[in-house]
Symmetry: C2
């Protein structure tokens, strides 16, 4: 089986790749795993002869068609994880780039899959940023999408496209709306939510971090472990398990940013806690406050997608999985 | 003031044009009215020196940029009605054409408006086809969009784009979700709902019509009069009247297809009624059954958008406005 991961050198893409190489997936043996990205990976990839790296522009239809048709392989690509995206802060600041990568890129991937004629499985990463407006207290699959950012708009459009292409049998698509990922290792990025990882990660490695939102801001989060397992589970499930919509809210847990700081103190001590600088940024507060505070995911839970127990478990997982490597990264 | 109507030679575009030429709009005098379409009009347009006809491809960005920038006019275009679309049945059958016209065309219009730098008003016609799945008994602004057709998908994407471009100040957009228009004059088209007009229009002019859905199928309808008035009202309202979302469900009334046939008998007699041939088509039944049966439009009603009293009023309006011209059309 040949699997392509777009955004494959990103944090989630790389972890999905390692997970697939180590444990495989339910569809059969992974013979070839192609990581597609616009730049080489920041972190080392495993030495594995099944792994190929391709760099290029996700918004260029010819590049993506070649990537997925794979004329030299037998029968093209069997499954795609479409994770490539311009993150929220950048898509808001650079409208053209956001639409090019997040909309044109998604169409390029879908059309390349359609051209195969084999209806390959496609896992698309969506986001809480699709929600917005006057949200109910608990948000989930049935909540109307009213994005308040260009990123959320582009992800909502991607969901519509994956559903339409799946209905027509061009792809066997599945969409996961990911909670905010915490603790994301590496360096801060231009996602509006990047602080939620920084405020744990940086103090634990002896660096300062800025928190631009108020301590009473409640966020819906999930750990990298849960999200990677969720993406692979989304690939493994039969398409009809998704029912009338291919879009699924992945479970998340809710925590106030002030309680995240308290959990950091618990795990890293008072010195770590003191490294959080609270510097309110109204623009970021507005984006984050437009996102859901609590998630209901009955469909996903019935399908076996798991949920973290809370922020303490998530910080421990970061310490186990990532802290040593994180210490090596310049900040 | 310069106004552009895309799909301007279509049934609704032509009526909006006539309405604007006769009565103007609330924004100021109409100095120039440009009808853009892919073909010349089937029906005669009024003789009016303010009226210009431009034919071209809505999905070609350069064509649309020239249309809206209007380099020879003072300051480009002040307002756009974006009505051009491939209808539902055709968008379902020809996926590429539907995405080209309904998605690429809408992006071309939005980007041309954005390039003006003046945030022109834009009225976008959406559709009940954006709804679908397990619908609540009454559907409206807050219902989650789950389109069950490519046409509905493309209209839902257009709504997202108009909202994002409005939020960013590139356009001052407003979206009306139109109920099914009945009675549409002229010839049948490739909309899945075309029968709802044909089953009234054809028998009243002595021709047979096919009804492909069961008599107990309930549809949400609005008359051409209401829809044209609604589109002009949507232009006239200040942008902040729309509140958190630029998308608005236009009011409609609900009627069973069997009761439409009974109203036809009332208006046109037993001979007209006998001209309806009931020939079930499961594909059309499936599309129509996925649309809402009843609409709630409290936001639109608070903003003064009106509702037809029922099918009898709508048939009388057709007889008054269109029957004489309809008698001249070959069938």
């Amino acid at each position: 089986m040949r699997i392509v991961i777009t955004g494959g050198c990103g944090f989630l893409g790389r972890r999905v790749a390692i997970r697939l190489l180590e444990k495989g997936c339910g569809l059969g043996p992974v013979d070839e795993l192609v990581l597609f990205d616009n730049a080489p990976p920041a972190s080392a990839l495993p030495e594995d002869k099944r792994l190929t790296l391709v760099t290029g522009d996700i918004a260029d239809p010819d590049t993506v068609a070649r990537l997925i048709a794979a004329p030299d392989s037998d029968g093209g690509t069997d499954a795609v994880f479409h994770l490539a995206a311009v993150v929220s802060g950048q898509a808001e600041a650079d409208t053209d780039l956001g639409y090019r990568v997040n909309l044109d890129g998604t169409r390029a991937v879908l059309d390349a899959c359609r051209a195969l004629g084999s209806s390959p499985r496609l896992v698309f990463a969506s986001s809480l940023a699709v929600y917005g407006g006057a949200l109910p207290p608990v948000v989930g699959d049935d909540t109307a999408l009213q994005p308040q950012s260009s990123y959320g708009t582009q992800k909502a459009i991607g969901e519509l496209l994956v559903n339409d292409y799946s209905r027509k049998g061009y792809v066997d698509g599945r969409v996961l709306r990911l909670p905010t990922v915490v603790v994301r290792p590496g360096l801060p990025n231009r996602a509006a939510s990047t602080f939620a990882s920084s405020m744990i990660r940086e103090p634990l490695t002896g660096r300062d971090a800025v928190c631009p939102v108020s301590p009473d801001t409640v966020m819906a989060l999930a750990s990298p472990r849960r999200i990677v397992e969720g993406l692979v589970r989304a690939l493994d499930l039969p398409g009809d398990a998704f029912g009338a919509s291919r879009s699924l809210q992945l479970p998340g847990f809710s925590v106030a940013v002030g309680d995240m700081a308290a959990a950091l103190r618990q795990a890293g001590g008072a010195a770590a806690h003191a490294r959080i600088r609270w510097e309110p940024d109204p623009a970021i507060q507005a984006i984050i406050s437009s996102w859901p505070r609590a998630l209901a995911s009955p469909r996903a839970e019935a399908l076996g997608f798991g949920r973290d127990s809370g922020i303490d478990e998530v910080i421990q997982a970061f310490i186990e999985d990532d802290l040593a490597a994180q210490m090596q990264i310049g900040g």
